[in-house]
């Protein structure tokens, strides 16, 4: 084992340290706070690179058995359930394997870039120090989540990530919309967390341990997967419950509503949430406990279909959006759908590969969008932009690289990762392949639409854009370079796929499927070309298309009315049910309590007659009682003699 592995705990500790320092000491000095925060996250980044190097030199023995460094955290004795020997130990520690190393690298890199960028973007904001404190806490939570050795530790950091996203989305809390968005994000993900917690309890109940690797060893072929209810096995139920957590966190279909609203936070926060931290936590969790999902084919199938549906669903919405950040948000949803679909198809490597490349180019594009918004003084509608290409050379170029990468243009990182996912779909399920390919076309189209509308075309006279300072452009350049070269890590024989794969699985060399690659290239390029024709050359009028399908356009622009549907459900069904319960509370629950009170009052009024207030009556009662006691003790039966010690009598 490499020497670096035992120091993995330092990686989340550094941002935590900076959070504490900023919160308690340096809050009054913004520049000092940001410097501390950046130094700490860069230290973590260096450590992450060191660990990554260690993983590369150690080879694939880490895939057989990951390195774990643990302390005992909680011990419960006489546990009545589970297969353990009557006691349950939950440890707190760090788990290092190639997946962790990859995530550490991506998270610390993106977090560093975002923090450096934020120095320029948040310049002059009142909450500058607070912002960096939150950023550090966010980074700490995500890094702790990545390094977790067991479900409980993961859940702890999982909730911390949710909390930090709440704080950062609602960072400008004086805006009503930001407050609402923060609450929405928190509550929506809470729905998913409930499922995850249930899943964890199910696992604990059956296996008596929460450690990932121990669970992996237990859920082997020898595990008796008993049917619980109606043909659903225990593992399927558990896996499904665990999966609800990622559905909320990674914005899969029914719980995706919080993610586009999360755009209310400062733009670098969106970059962090959407590229490296919050949303990929769900995908990461599924990859981390991939053994659990693999043991349940039904859940796997569900995941693949849900992912594919989310990808298409979000991509169609993105086509009709006008807000630059919302387009990117729906694009994120769509790409997360891709990752989930790949996981559902069993292609964990492809999914993680896409997670990594997506982190690069999505962080790049969000930071680019932030640069644009900064230059245009908080304008976010793409139709208010235009002609930025000439004024903002660095932002424009790097953004274009991001668009090409996400569109899957050959040679860039997105091409390699998306191609792996499409190949997996092609081999497993042709329907998913067709839908995913169509989504790829849509992705290329709406991203190019965004680019052509915002960056090319006529300049707007009321805009006076200028290039952002170097602190903002430097991260853009670094991320752009990674977006270009990031895909090549898969090419060597002992490349990405050799390291990042499920525990204990055989390494299979994936050869490129030239048919799939060719089709996706054609689709990507035609998407870009179509957008070019519509929005740059104006050869096809976009207004005409809208006029032809007014209904469709309206539905897409209103995001399929999902928010309205939820609102309707809450207003009518939840509130209605609440009214019924309110009635029940007022008339039944309160009725019982009032009846009890009345009963006590009634008996009180009955028995108070005994209290006459007459001194001599009391004296008489006392005397007669003493006489009775005396008689009982003296002549009473044996059973009454038990009273003697209390009455002090003599016999």
């Amino acid at each position: 084992m490499h020497a670096s592995f035992q120091w993995a705990w330092l990686i989340p500790l550094m941002p935590l340290l900076s959070f504490l320092i900023i919160a308690f000491v340096t809050k009054k000095w913004p520049r000092l706070s940001s410097t501390i925060s950046i130094i700490c996250i860069l230290t973590s980044f260096v450590l992450a690179v060191w660990i990554g190097y260690g993983v590369l030199t150690t080879g694939d023995q880490l895939v057989e058995k990951p390195y774990q460094h643990t302390l005992n955290w909680l011990t419960f004795n006489n546990v009545p359930w589970g297969l353990s020997e009557g006691s349950l130990n939950i440890e707190f520690g760090t788990l290092v394997d190639p997946l962790t190393a990859m995530m550490l690298f991506v998270v610390t890199l993106v977090a560093s870039m975002v923090q450096i960028y934020s120095v320029g973007y948040m310049h002059g904001d009142k909450g500058f120090s607070r912002y960096f404190a939150y950023q550090s806490l966010f980074a700490m939570s995500m890094l702790g989540l990545v390094l977790a050795t067991n479900f409980l530790q993961l859940f702890l950091f999982w909730e911390l990530v949710g909390l930090c996203s709440y704080l950062l989305i609602g960072f400008w809390f004086f805006k009503v919309s930001a407050r609402e968005a923060a609450k929405k994000a928190f509550i929506t993900t809470r729905v998913g967390d409930f499922g995850l917690l249930l899943g964890i309890l199910f696992l604990l109940n059956k296996f008596g341990t929460l450690n990932f690797f121990k669970l992996h060893e237990m859920i082997g072929p020898q595990f008796n997967n008993a049917v619980v209810v109606g043909g659903i096995s225990y593992l399927t139920l558990t896996a499904f419950l665990v999966f609800i957590g990622p559905v909320g966190k990674s914005g899969q279909f029914p719980l995706h509503v919080w993610l586009p609203d999360a755009m209310e936070g400062p733009t670098p926060v969106s970059a962090l949430i959407h590229a490296a931290t919050m949303v990929v936590a769900g995908v990461f969790l599924v990859a981390r406990v991939f053994f659990l999902f693999k043991a349940s084919p039904a859940t796997m199938e569900f995941i693949s279909y849900l992912g594919c549906f989310t990808a298409l669903f979000a991509a169609t919405i993105a086509v009709a959006q006008d807000d630059i950040k919302r387009i990117l948000a729906y694009s994120t949803l769509s790409q997360l759908g891709y990752m989930m679909m790949a996981l559902g198809l069993g292609a964990m490597t492809a999914s993680m590969f896409h997670l990594m490349t997506h982190a690069f180019f999505k962080a790049l594009m969000f930071l680019g969008a932030g640069s644009v918004i900064h230059a245009l003084h908080e304008k976010q509608n793409i139709w208010d932009m235009g002609g930025l290409w000439k004024k903002m050379k660095i932002t424009g170029t790097t953004f274009f690289i991001g668009v090409l990468a996400i569109a899957g243009v050959p040679g860039l990182s997105g091409f390699f990762s998306k191609d792996e996912i499409l190949t997996a779909a092609y081999h497993n399920n042709i329907i998913l392949y067709v839908v995913a390919s169509f989504t790829a076309f849509l992705t290329a189209f709406y991203m190019s639409r965004l680019f052509f509308v915002a960056f090319t075309g006529d300049e707007k006279p009321e805009n006076h854009p200028h290039e952002s300072p170097w602190m903002m452009t430097l991260p853009l350049i670094i991320l752009a370079v990674l977006s270009v070269v990031g895909g090549y890590v898969a090419l060597p024989e002992h490349g990405f796929g050799y390291f990042v794969r499920p525990w204990g699985s055989e390494y299979e060399v994936e050869h490129m499927n030239y048919l799939v690659a060719g089709i996706s290239t054609v689709l990507g390029l035609s998407g870009i070309g179509l957008a070019y024709l519509v929005y740059n050359r104006k050869a096809i009028s976009a207004d005409n298309i809208v006029a032809t399908f007014p209904r469709t356009y309206k539905v897409l622009q209103n995001k399929y009315y999902v928010d309205e549907l939820y609102l309707w459900i809450i207003k009518n069904i939840v509130d209605g049910f609440g009214k019924v319960l309110y009635w029940f509370d007022i008339y039944v629950v309160d009725g019982i309590i009032n009846a009890l009170g009345f009963l006590a009052k009634f008996f009180g009024s009955l028995f108070r007659r005994a209290q006459t207030g007459q001194l001599q009556v009391y004296a008489m009662v006392i005397f007669v009682s003493i006489v009775i006691m005396f008689l009982v003790i003296t002549f009473g039966e044996q059973q009454l003699s038990a009273l003697i010690p209390f009455l002090g009598g003599v016999k």
């Binding site: 108070r608 209290q611 006459t612 207030g613 007459q614 001194l615 001599q616 004296a619 005397f623």
Partner: protein, 117 residues
């Protein structure tokens, strides 16, 4: 036929019991608070007679402690204690009765029922 006319323990106990019953009757039946207090004194004195009588008739043997003869006087001492305590009690009781009379112009215990519900 010969009668044992000497006074023994039963006679004392009988007198004490009668005295106690008179006192009890007074406590139960008298309306005047002062009369109630006086009846209470009767009851206490009945007890005193008992204490002294028991001491006199049951423990009247000298006890040899290191060559010196001692008599056990616990009953007598108890009786003196009772007298002292009774005196204190009557002092408090009379003070209460006087205060009560000043406020209500009455010492009738039947009217002293204002602490009931």
């Amino acid at each position: 036929m010969s009668f044992n006319l000497s006074v023994g323990l039963p006679h004392y106990l009988l007198v004490a019991a009668m005295l106690f019953c008179f006192g009890l009757y007074g406590v139960f039946s008298k309306k005047n608070a002062i009369a109630v207090l006086m009846s209470l004194e009767l009851m206490l004195n009945a007890v005193n007679i008992n204490l002294v009588a028991f001491n006199r008739f049951l423990f009247n043997k000298p006890i040899d402690v290191q060559g010196v003869k001692h008599y056990l006087l616990a009953g007598h001492v108890s009786a003196i204690f009772v007298i002292v305590v009774a005196a204190a009690e009557v002092a408090v009781g009379l003070a209460l009765v006087i205060t009560m009379y000043r406020n209500r112009l009455s010492t009738n215990v039947d009217e002293l029922d204002w602490l009931k519900w």
